[in-house]
Symmetry: C2
Subunit: 563 residues, 2 copies
Amino acid sequence: MAAELTAHELVAQHRPTLDQALEAIRTRAYWSPHPEHPKAYGEHGSLDAAAGKAAFDALLGTRIDLGQPGTDDWTGDELSPYGIELGVTYPHADVDVLLPAMKAGQRAWRDAGAEIRAMVCLEIIKRISDRTHEFAHAVMHTSGQAFMMAFQAGGPHAQDRGMEAVAYAYVEQVRTPDTAEWTKPQGKREPLALTKRFTAVPRGIALVIGCNTFPTWNGYPGLFASLATGNAVLVKPHPRAVLPLALTVQVARQVLAEAGFDPNLVALTADRPGEGSAKTLATRPEIRIVDYTGSTAFGDWLEANARQAQVFTEKAGVNTVIVESTDDYRGMLANLAFSLSLYSGQMCTTPQNLLVPRDGIRTDQGPKSYDEVVADLAAAVDALLGDDARANALLGAIVNPDVKARLDAAAGLGEVALASREVTNPDFPGAVVRTPLIVKLDGAKPDDEAAYMNECFGPVSFAVAVDSASDAVELLRRTVRDKGAMSVGAYTTDEEVESAIEEVCLEESAQLSLNLTGGVYVNQTAAFSDFHGSGGNPAANATLTDGAFVATRFRVVEVRREA
Amino acid sequence: MAAELTAHELVAQHRPTLDQALEAIRTRAYWSPHPEHPKAYGEHGSLDAAAGKAAFDALLGTRIDLGQPGTDDWTGDELSPYGIELGVTYPHADVDVLLPAMKAGQRAWRDAGAEIRAMVCLEIIKRISDRTHEFAHAVMHTSGQAFMMAFQAGGPHAQDRGMEAVAYAYVEQVRTPDTAEWTKPQGKREPLALTKRFTAVPRGIALVIGCNTFPTWNGYPGLFASLATGNAVLVKPHPRAVLPLALTVQVARQVLAEAGFDPNLVALTADRPGEGSAKTLATRPEIRIVDYTGSTAFGDWLEANARQAQVFTEKAGVNTVIVESTDDYRGMLANLAFSLSLYSGQMCTTPQNLLVPRDGIRTDQGPKSYDEVVADLAAAVDALLGDDARANALLGAIVNPDVKARLDAAAGLGEVALASREVTNPDFPGAVVRTPLIVKLDGAKPDDEAAYMNECFGPVSFAVAVDSASDAVELLRRTVRDKGAMSVGAYTTDEEVESAIEEVCLEESAQLSLNLTGGVYVNQTAAFSDFHGSGGNPAANATLTDGAFVATRFRVVEVRREA
């Protein structure tokens, strides 16, 4: 069939962007082609705020028919954390029909080569970028993120992470040349000479198992890494967060078709709540790659059971911040207060355990006792969230009833230093909005350990009193080793303490943010520069993004013959 | 301690070699710094033939004391396939003592950085290269390879494979810069600015489980890939092939110490026959990487059970050569005869199933019936091995009684087209030397399938009659998919058949050699250019060598702070 998007056009449009992305992952300096400001959209074919909102509204109550084989069953009952029923239905695929159909286009996709695959992926991301406003509402009303966060994290930041994966996938595939002339001297005899051809071949079909809180941000790296390395990709979203990934699949299928490829290279199957189709899908022989973000229990299950596949997991950890000393007490408190509040602590990188010496800390405001530090942090959170409008804009909504139940229970774990407060969202009366809870615990008490040594996902933090800086460092080590960590933070002006914390993070493979007091937060990572997770501790077996994240998604087959 | 080998000296000596290796893996053209000819050794500090033989002889009957912690027990009862008792004993380590000691030097080794680690690895390889003659005897008298093969495959080719792993490890680590300055514009406000430091950190202790047939060639890639990425390495050789790896560990420890590092970063533990210590070792929590070459059963066990580790396996496959047509009948027969004979077929890449259409093939010598092809191949093997001296030089010795028993039993599997012949080795009367057996089987008979669809490791090949070229292609596909393949060969002058075979190899991830009639054989691969295995079919989960072979052996830890 004649492609509407020719290879020439795709390369002309996207190769310069790919080259910039390749330079960014080489230098890890700041770079992003996707504007963060909502007002930057509305020209050059992108939807502005009003058009994006209208597009989202038009989706409500509709059936998203992706034109996939094996679809005569539909499902979908997403309830926005803001209280709206989305009413959108999606294909509940007959995978016995769909999976074979997904294989049909793989040969042409493989033969297109790494560059064209990268170009097609960048065109998909470009089309998604143009609809960032629409996606922002879709992410907001599935994850419960506040609009601005849904816009940025679910839009440009997710698109960045997808493009980063494309860049790594591309560079990994072209490390081996397409052909080689091999000529081996044989002394006085004729040299041995072979012509070798090397082809990057896909593993097969990749499965992306989406999560509730960051459907696009956590879904795009695996989706684009697998697609860019020649695999077909089946997306199985979280039942509460289907819409953003269904739109993504729709765009991908459109672009693939326009570029002359089989749209079935990317497909979606939604499951019913409680159906648990991910287990069945992940262990099917056709599935050769699995990307998963979610609970440790299911991530561990996938690693143990989806043995026919390369499995990439981001599970859960217990994130620690050591508060040992600071020369910017107010900056520290403001920074921490923001980290605890953003999206009601529902990020895998949100700090949970704040380790504070029970004898207090040194600061530029003089010594502060443990109680003072905790009270001042509580006050900083209160000040940050005192205004309801601002609180709503930062907190978003509680994503599901499990998080709310955990928050309610956590207040009984110890002395409450900061109670969680209910906030009303005037625009969405159905939204469950809560401020962070801070509970005091004692690092020396075995009973308290049961609380702080387990992940309590949601707006819950523990101010853990420790005996000393070295006690904090050892608790950090034990926490990362046993429970994993997606992020570690520390505040210290003491070189020895800093060095000890760094050493623990190097030895236990944890990503460390030191003395953040300004506008960067421990729970945020930037694509092309920061690694998200390390892949070296129990919280995740992979990192976003490095060579290891893409290198096993394809193989190189060599065909050699005499020259 | 003052290092005898300074970083400056190491870089001056080895950086140019590393740069050449990096260029070689980029172009995959021919390159090797290690001479293949025995006469090339004897100058610049390397041992010549006589000195190498004397050094080997001096080892016999000795104890190799590596000075490792946790050694008050010794073992070793290697019996050369050539009939000599080596009488060498080795540390049977108390790993509860040894493993903690191996961790002591890891921090300094990590902090040395990727370049210095590469330099130290290249110095180790250089010292081994200087003793190639000595190693050749050690490989010969453990693997049963004939001297020239032991010299080349166990010496320069193994050293090449080790260096290739060092090159991949180096380049993988330096893909991320040591530091980055990240500055994010904030419109009219001050930009956000972070300083980021990235450190490649090791997984922990790596375990190399050696094999009987190619202790150095198959051992070096994992050993050097893990060491170059900052890990400590424990080597557990096959009980019948300890000596070459014990010498390797000895050299590595010497070089590490001279360069100012802890020699315990590389250690050896030999086990007693039947002790099976590999299972216990591979599942210890300290072991975070396992490299294994050997049986499918134990490789599968490791993949399923050594879950705390990154596991790299080279197991067994069923290698196929399709014989469909040729324009060089004599060249094809000679090439195949050599492939079947080299090291008595005891290579993981030796062809096992020769698929020949039952209606015969087209050749430059006119049409040949199935019977003629098989008889002519048998005659070619006979001609190649007719002279006992030449036969001994090609065949080597049968590595162990299991292989001999399998060979004896295989003669009963079908009509014998070429009987295995006993060859006397005048230098080593105790050697068990056998020529290849060729058995005729019928691809359409279910009884025969039980034979040809299982690996029969040793000098056994099956001439399998198939209905047609497309029948051969489908049998190839099924064999690779179900049993795996380390190599695939094909002879065809038909473009359609060639294309179908290539497509099967691309779809099933098998490395293909087409129409080899000269001095390159399907069972040989050259480091820096050929991939050994694909990592994409059941014969192996990794390939030698690509980015995936090194990328998960380390992690990158980021420490960021405000600029």
